[in-house]
């Protein structure tokens, strides 16, 4: 690590400076103050909390992260070096949580779609978005969300009007580039998809350099009646990077929402997703793929809240763990009273490739209605010796055989990814950097 870590983290001091340096309209400024208070009260989570039992964030608490008040710069070359997928549509690039207008482009968007920086939106026609921020992802009991809200400043806003179909995916790129001090990047994403609209969003999180940083992102999404939203989060943080992401989505009647969490790098990566099926006939898909190597810790926490009848949800998470990496999966499905005809499926499968890898999985069902179909399954295993033997007997080397099997393990998840550029990149990545194990 190139940084010299000396001082203890001083979030109170930073908050005071941030409040005056980054002005917000009155209700939001109040929310920011309240959020900081609840962060102060909560402190960073400890393993004594049920939701954090297996995820020790002690390393995060010890590093004095600094949230940069001004804009940070990043050259086009260093951005290209990250080899993020080219989606060919609108692209917003954020560096250390701040929009970098020179790297971003919003051309080619159809009418009725607004893609812009949160700071810019709040400064201009604040109306709709100011009323949305913080409404879904409340700070109560959630220390990281509270921290994000306390340092609310910039982020991405995507608004799609009723009936508008956005054909090319919208790319939101969050690059954290620590320089001399450990950086705290806290973007906020606010998405609203109007009735009968259709949109695909890709969030890429990446880091440069070898310094430590914390990317603490919060996304809030409103999916109106009959809307279709596809959402992808590709966390490809640097080795010394920490990532905590919270996604909260609320779904209208007969809407369709899918979110794919793909975790490829980072020291500790925690993805939280909470989806509220708030209208009848809603459908929700949460998928995840995580590859762990070295001493990484990947934690996926999902909650699907079947609040209304006749909703379907599908969840498939797959993990491939190598080295000393650890994975945590906690999938909660709540079926509320009278949410009849619910169909919820959940599955978490993990493949352990090395002696030191570990998995902790907790699929959790809470059901308060009787006419429902709920299933969950979890498996933890290793490569099948017989399958390996079969391939070896057909003249594949041990390494090739293992790669093929590991690729096949992840293949069905790749099949669910509709954005070609992401799928192809993942496909190549799986074959090339795939952990081979021992």
């Amino acid at each position: 690590m190139s940084q010299v870590v000396t001082a203890a983290p001083d979030y109170a001091g930073q908050f005071a400076a941030w409040s005056s340096a980054v002005p917000l309209p009155a209700p939001l400024a109040d929310m920011r103050r309240d959020a900081f208070q609840s962060f102060e009260q909560l402190g960073f989570p400890t393993t004594r909390l049920e939701e954090w039992r297996f995820t020790n964030v002690a390393p995060i608490t010890k590093i004095p992260f600094v949230a940069p008040e001004g804009a940070s710069s990043l050259s086009r070359e260093s951005l290209d070096r990250l080899q993020l997928p080219q989606l060919g549509g609108a692209e917003l690039v954020f560096v250390n949580g701040r929009l970098a207008p020179d790297l971003s482009s919003t051309t080619g968007l159809p009418d009725g779609v607004r893609v812009a920086g949160l700071a810019e939106m709040l400064a201009g026609q604040a109306g709709a978005v100011a009323g949305r921020v913080g409404q879904l992802a409340g700070a109560a009991g959630q220390a990281f969300t509270a921290l994000n809200t306390a340092f609310l400043g910039d982020g991405a806003v995507v608004e799609v009007d009723d009936g508008v179909v956005v054909e090319t995916p919208i790319h939101l790129l969050f690059v954290t580039s620590p320089d001399t001090a450990p950086v705290l990047s806290q973007p906020r994403v606010v998405v609203s998809a109007g009735a009968n609209s259709q949109v695909c969003l890709v969030e890429s999180h990446a880091g440069t350099g070898e310094g430590a940083y914390l990317s603490n992102a919060v996304s809030e999404m409103w999916v109106a009646d009959h809307a279709v939203v596809d959402h992808y989060v590709v966390a490809r943080e640097a080795d010394a990077g920490y990532h905590v992401g919270q996604l909260v989505a609320t779904l209208g009647r007969a809407s369709n929402f899918s979110s794919h969490a793909i975790t490829l790098g980072g020291a500790i990566v925690r993805n939280e997703a909470r989806v509220i099926l708030g209208g009848e006939g809603g459908e929700c898909t949460l998928n995840g793929l995580y590859l762990g190597t070295g001493r990484q810790l990947v934690d996926n926490q999902t909650t699907i809240d079947h609040a209304t009848p006749h909703c379907d949800s599908h969840e498939l998470y797959k993990g491939i763990l190598d080295g000393q990496s650890r994975a945590v999966f906690n999938g909660k499905i709540i079926v509320r009273l009278d949410a009849q005809k619910t169909d919820a499926k959940q599955s978490n499968k993990a493949l352990l490739l090395s002696e030191g890898a570990q998995v902790t999985t907790k699929p959790q069902l809470e059901i308060f209605a009787d006419d429902v179909k709920c299933t969950h399954g979890a498996t933890v295993g290793q490569l099948d010796d017989e399958a390996l033997f079969y391939l070896r007997s057909r003249a594949l080397s041990e390494e090739q055989a293992r790669q093929l099997l590991v690729h096949a393990f992840a293949a069905d998840l790749l099949g669910h990814i509709k954005v070609g550029a992401i799928r192809e990149q993942l496909d190549a990545l799986l074959l090339e950097r795939l952990p081979v194990g021992s």
Binding site: K362, P363, T375, H376
Partner: protein
């Protein structure tokens, strides 16, 4: 409309059955020796003195009490109840013995009558079923049958107090080795104040010729029961143990915090079956037993522990019979049926801790919720670093009867060894109207149809129960289910 008729018949049946009084609710008026309410070191010293216990056991109790005083009551479970005031409980009550018991005939006639009502007349048991019964009546064993037959084989089966008196070396060697005195809030409480319980020791290579059985019974008002069971199967021994429970009807909630420890030494097999039918409270959830139990077994090399439980009673059940698979090739099994009806709440499941190589475990859990019942399965499967080639299969199914009940599952899987295989499956369903319709068509009443379907749902577990228990379990299920149709 056919379906409509089915529904209304079902509702009627439900109402009729729901009104059914708790069959075993009665209070036997036996003189009791009761210590004043409250818990302190003095109370523990007094319990120990009454029971004429050796110094080491008193020390052990006091240590447990000191640990307990610093603990707070757990709140992570998924059940809601009014907190227990631990100073408002009398921690010891024993039927006053009028004279030394020479034979069954000397047993207090009132107690005998109680057992008769429960259908476990000692003579009957002795003569017909070949089951040795160590009947625990409010904490003190009043009679033990078949002692002679067992003694010939070197099997020790007696009340805990007797074991402390007659076999202190065995008790001291194994007590607290599986559930330490500081294990959890309720186990620590039990360790401090346990009144009596059962003790069994099966010597090396002996296969116990009969099912060992204990009937527990809570009697005096306001006396929580704190049983302690210790079961040791020496190398290569085999034993099947039955535990069945009924309790009289009460308005105040009664606390029950038992501890069961099983030690299966190399190559031993222990099968522990429970049918629990404590008073669940009335339809409004008034009264009923709080059942906070710690059950755990340690299996050494090649040993096998099987837990089978049918949980139909208690207002609150909080119970996780567990296996520590310490030895290589050891096997742990858990089969459970838990029924919650009216306002009953159950948070139950198991822990399988794989430490040895080639250890295997199976978990089959069936949860049935009806009325306003809340049923939670909470399980842990932990594969330790050294548990090479460990294997686990878990299946937890829930059946919902009615639209106001809940079924929840909280399975934890922790895997730290790559050569292991862990599988978990869970499903939730209800009794289909088409299934009921099919049975009705073939001349079964709605109630019988529900019983049939529920019994089918639980078959995998009932199959594991010893014969007599399986019959009782099926009866219990049909009584406590009140055949509602969703």
């Amino acid at each position: 409309m056919a379906a409509g008729n089915v529904m209304s018949t079902a509702t009627q049946t439900v109402e009729e059955l729901a009104k059914q009084e708790y069959k075993y609710g009665f209070v036997t008026d036996v003189e009791q020796e009761t210590i004043p309410k409250g818990l302190s070191e003095d109370v523990i010293r007094r319990i120990s003195a009454i029971k004429q216990e050796p110094e080491w056991l008193l020390e052990w109790r006091l240590n447990a009490f000191r640990v307990w005083s610093k603990m707070s009551e757990p709140e992570w479970h998924n059940v809601h109840y009014n907190k227990v005031d631990y100073q408002d409980i009398s921690y010891y009550s024993a039927p006053k013995q009028k004279k030394q018991l020479e034979s069954l005939d000397d047993v207090d006639p009132e107690i005998r009558a109680t057992f008769d009502k429960l259908g476990i007349s000692l003579d009957e048991q002795k003569r017909l079923s070949g089951v040795a019964v160590d009947a625990v009546f409010d904490s003190v064993s009043v009679a033990t049958t078949f002692k002679g037959t067992l003694a010939n084989l070197g099997i020790i089966f007696c009340s805990f107090s007797e074991a402390v008196r007659d076999h202190p070396e065995l008790v001291r060697k194994y007590l607290g080795t599986v559930v330490p005195h500081s294990d959890n809030f309720f186990a620590a409480l039990n360790s401090a104040v346990f009144s009596d319980g059962s003790f069994a020791y099966i010597p090396k290579g002996v296969k116990c010729p009969m099912e060992l059985s204990t009937y527990f019974r809570i009697n005096a008002a306001n006396t929580g029961q704190f049983e302690r069971t210790l079961l040791v199967a020496d190398e290569g021994a085999e034993v099947s143990y039955l535990e069945g429970c009924t309790a009289p009807q009460r308005d105040e909630n009664q606390l029950h915090a038992a501890v069961v420890e099983l030690v299966a030494l190399e190559g031993a097999t222990i099968k522990y079956s429970t049918v629990q039918n404590w008073y669940p409270g009335d339809a409004e959830g008034k009264g009923g037993i709080y059942n906070f139990v710690t059950k755990r077994g340690t299996a050494f090399d090649n040993a096998k522990i099987t837990w089978t439980q049918v949980e139909t009673g208690s207002a609150i059940t909080w119970k996780y019979p567990s296996c520590i698979l310490q030895g290589d090739n050891s096997v742990g099994e858990f089969y459970s049926v838990a029924v919650t009806n009216n306002r009953q709440q159950a948070d139950t499941g198991t822990k399988m801790v794989h430490l040895g190589k080639n250890t295997r475990s199976t978990i089959i859990s069936k949860g049935i919720s009806a009325g306003l019942g809340q049923n939670t399965y909470r399980g842990l499967v932990r594969i330790g670093k050294g548990a090479t080639s460990a294997r686990n299969f878990s299946q937890c199914d829930s059946l919902l009867i009615g639209d106001r009940c809940g079924a929840h599952t909280f399975p934890y899987l922790e895997v730290k060894n790559t050569s292991s295989q862990v599988e978990h499956e869970a499903s939730t369903s209800k009794i289909g109207e088409d299934q009921i319709f099919y049975c009705r068509q073939r001349g079964l009443s709605t109630e019988d149809a529900v019983n049939l379907i529920v019994n089918g749902f639980c078959k995998e577990v009932f199959r594991e129960l010893p014969m007599e228990f399986a019959v009782e379990a099926q009866k219990l299920l049909s009584i406590s289910l009140e055949g509602s149709v969703g």
